[in-house]
Amino acid sequence: MSEAVAVHGAVDPAETPLTPENWGKLGMWLFLAGDAMSFGGLIVAYGALRHHSKSWPVPAEVLGINLTALMTFLLIVSSVTMVLALAGLQDGDKPRFKKFMSLTILGGAIFLGLQAYEWTHLIGHTLPHYNLAFSKDLFATTFFVLTGFHGMHVTGGVIYNSCVLAAVNRGRYQAKHVEIAGLYWHFVDLVWILIFTFVYLL
């Protein structure tokens, strides 16, 4: 025991080592770091291809900003409901957790519905009007690859969050599991903030 104390004493008091309670979070952060590099690679490739293209449509004109701004706001709201759900469970208030977790899942599902509507509208009306199409030109291709890769992440997040809600309801998951799911969900929100700027606004 005294040896353990001595070992602890040798550690810089500003930083305690990661304890087993942190391993789940560390695992998720390592996954997210890899995932961030996938998104980073796609965004950097998008920038290089766009810079090299002789002509590039004005994204705001072709894609429209209003619906996407609403989608951005929706993801930010669902991030807030996620932290409030976690705070609820940490306070031991299960009904509050269920309420906010359900709202988080609903927010993700509405986001996906809006994205499906956006894609349908783009493929059916807007892109043909500008003579653009997936795999025919870089503007449409990079758009669908980037937003599609993100949309897959949202889909995964909605499924993940639903499983976490069910597992907490059955008493199998506690607050620490919700926190790890939260990291994933906030990451999806964070990436959308960047995609909104690079793909839609710039």
């Binding site: 930083e15 560390l26 920038g47 900003i65 930010i76 807030v80 409030l84 906030h186 909104f196 606004l201």
Partner: protein, 92 residues
């Protein structure tokens, strides 16, 4: 209990800041600013918003520094990737 109440208040504050920053982003695209200035401002705002999410919602501000270190690595590598592509993007 007082600390949790405080952190809830904080979440709502961050939410309001994120919403305002999003509105600012859309507003400055309508101003007709010079391209370089617009790009610099929009990228700055996006990084600011992303940092707010990571620091407050993902708790990096109160987390152990090891996790922050993990989070910073892909960011640094992506900047490195961009720099490595510069000779291709600006051929002489």
């Amino acid at each position: 209990m007082a600390t949790t109440a405080h952190s809830h208040h904080n979440y709502i504050k961050i939410f309001i800041i994120l919403s305002v920053l999003t509105a600012v982003e859309i507003a400055i695209t309508l101003l007709g600013l010079p391209r370089t200035l617009l790009v610099a401002m929009l990228v700055g705002l996006a990084v600011w918003k992303a940092a707010l999410v990571a620091l407050h919602f993902m708790h990096l501000k109160i987390e152990k520094k090891t996790l922050t270190l993990v989070a910073i690595v892909p960011f640094v590598l992506c900047i490195f990737l961009s720099l490595m592509l510069l000779p291709d993007v600006y051929p002489r």
